[in-house]
Symmetry: C2
Subunit: 351 residues, 2 copies
């Protein structure tokens, strides 16, 4: 495999048709995409091409067996028009960890980084200045082999597509704590960004939506007593002045925003506990007033305050804090991401 990316530029740009003030998440894509096929046992010539539909046989494995993994990451533009990525190597490591669990071949690190940078450079005009504006980047791999045997494919397509984004959630989020449905099993694929993990949450989330809750906080499938993650976000709890979150496991995604928040919290002198959190503990803390905050963290949402949770039909409102941890973490993260502060951790990567 050669590492030199073949670039075919789009003849015209769609950028002038886009209303950047009114973006729905993930509906508009930039002018180019990165594509690399796997066949004959190896990744082939990587390419950047105009963003365009892809054509697959109806028997392509991804349609039948969900053999697909993805990542979510963002590019940010600073006040001097420089574009930055946030911890991109972590996304590469994680997509390859997900790929391994889904029996998908690993993608080479150097080609990933080179392709990512070249693509974002080419579509740089799509990254808008201003806090909250970003370019959401979606690397993903799909099994393309045209054959419906229930076994790993021998052909794949790795793509990176990019979508200009504003803030993902507006306003506070109300969540339902899962009592019956589950997101993942011990020994399953919950820790991976496997495509099928997400569709499996749609139906229970629809039911939650109907009751007025935007998201579900998943609990362990065995007992439904332990809080896990929210499916598109890891979840943090602040009890008094201690920040608590569940440890990552084979059921819980090792979120990049999650671990960044943990690092910032530690360095800010905030007391941090990474340990299993019981639903009953949360309810008790809510009742005695020691539960100060719940928030989600993820690439799309960054930090998303949660204003209420429901469990077994009872709704627990979380009183608004003057000084929110979530606001502190969000500001510190945004300052690093948008090159407004020092980056003591080396998380920011220039394009």
């Amino acid at each position: 495999m050669t590492n030199t990316i073949e670039i075919t530029k789009a003849q015209t740009s769609k950028i002038h048709d886009v209303d950047f003030e009114n973006l729905s998440f993930g509906k508009v894509f930039t002018d180019h995409m990165f594509v690399c096929d796997f066949k004959n046992g190896e990744w082939q010539q990587p390419e950047i091409t105009p963003y365009a539909p892809i054509t697959l046989d109806p028997s392509a494995r991804v349609f039948h067996y969900g053999q697909a993994v993805f990542e979510g990451m963002k590019a940010f533009k600073d006040d001097e028009n420089k574009v930055w990525l946030f911890r991109p190597e972590d996304n590469l490591l994680r997509i390859n960890k997900s790929a391994e669990r889904l029996a998908i071949p690993a993608f080479p690190q150097d080609v990933f980084m080179e392709g990512l940078k070249a693509l974002v450079q080419l579509d740089e005009a799509w990254v808008k200045q201003g806090l909250g504006n970003s370019l959401y980047i979606r690397p993903f791999v799909i099994a393309t082999e045209p054959a419906i045997a229930a076994s790993p494919a021998v052909e794949y397509k790795f793509l990176i597509i990019c979508s200009p984004a504003q803030s993902y959630y507006s306003g506070d989020v109300r969540v339902l704590i899962a009592e019956e449905f589950s997101r993942s099993a011990n020994g399953g694929v919950g820790y991976a960004k496997a495509a099928g993990n997400y569709a499996a949450q749609f139906y229970p989330t629809n039911l939650a939506n109907k009751e007025g809750f935007q998201q579900i906080i998943w609990t362990d499938a065995d007992t439904h007593q332990y809080l896990e993650e929210a499916g598109t976000m890891n979840v943090f709890f602040r009890i008094n002045d201690t920040l608590i979150t569940a440890p990552t496991s084979e059921r819980i995604l090792d979120g990049i925003t999650r671990k960044s928040i943990l690092k910032i919290a530690e360095d800010s002198g905030i007391s941090v506990e990474v340990r299993p959190v019981k639903v009953s503990e949360l309810i008790e803390a809510s009742k005695d007033g020691s539960l100060k905050e719940i928030f989600g963290s993820g690439t799309a949402a960054i930090v998303s305050p949660i204003s209420a949770f429901s469990y077994k039909g009872e709704v627990f409102e979380i009183p608004h804090q003057e000084e929110r941890f979530s606001a502190i973490f969000k500001e510190k993260l945004l300052n690093i991401q948008y090159n407004k502060s020092e980056d003591p951790y080396g998380w920011r990567v220039s394009i």
Copy 2:
């Protein structure tokens, strides 16, 4: 939605290029396919078209979140060249049950049956006579909406494709009993034919393959003490002369071959127990000689005898029986499917 299917015939047939004596499962497809799109809140004009690649935006939901379900069924040709389906309404009911869990709109029963029959009629020459020969039929639904928000799509594609098949497994199968990996969780999507359930099994199955086992028998994710299903097959145990299988549940697929076997067994005067089966019970029965058979059941495999199982590094061989239940069930099923016997159950449906 109109129920009249628009049919566009292929100009030439690929059938003469196909070596029907040497078919790999699911690699060759017939000349036509059934396609129906869902948009604007309803299923659109159903069509039969020449079998052809499909073109989707790279942001199509199925690629990212695995929002897809499928079915597996077969058509059989009898000695008088009549073509038969086996319990097709059950496949329709199940795909809609799977669809509901994956937040996919249900497909109308009459259009499904009409489309299925019209498609198989059109490609009738691909259904070959002779026991073991069949046309494997794959209905499936994929989320096509071009947007990567993690929520149910508003656009879908329902397809039926057909692949000529010989026997799925040749020879006896050796299986590994899962000790660590899991297929599904309580409150999850294990009972559905959700695409993501299958890719999740590829990696553990690869590991089993390397140890000389073709399949895994999954156990419950909580304790790994109860035998569940084999991922592409339900599993039956014969202890002395009693046939035992796990009850269906939210983790175990309600297999059509499974329930047909249960019916045949009851009507044949065989003692049947549908109840949780412990791994320890299986090992004990193997050790004291009362374990006579294990076999899998499924549309692709029909009935697949298992000759050995492995648990915690120990391999238990199953001595070959003179009179196998599995052979009896297979023969009775094939006789019904190929119109060689009466069909007291009304399972056979003429095309």
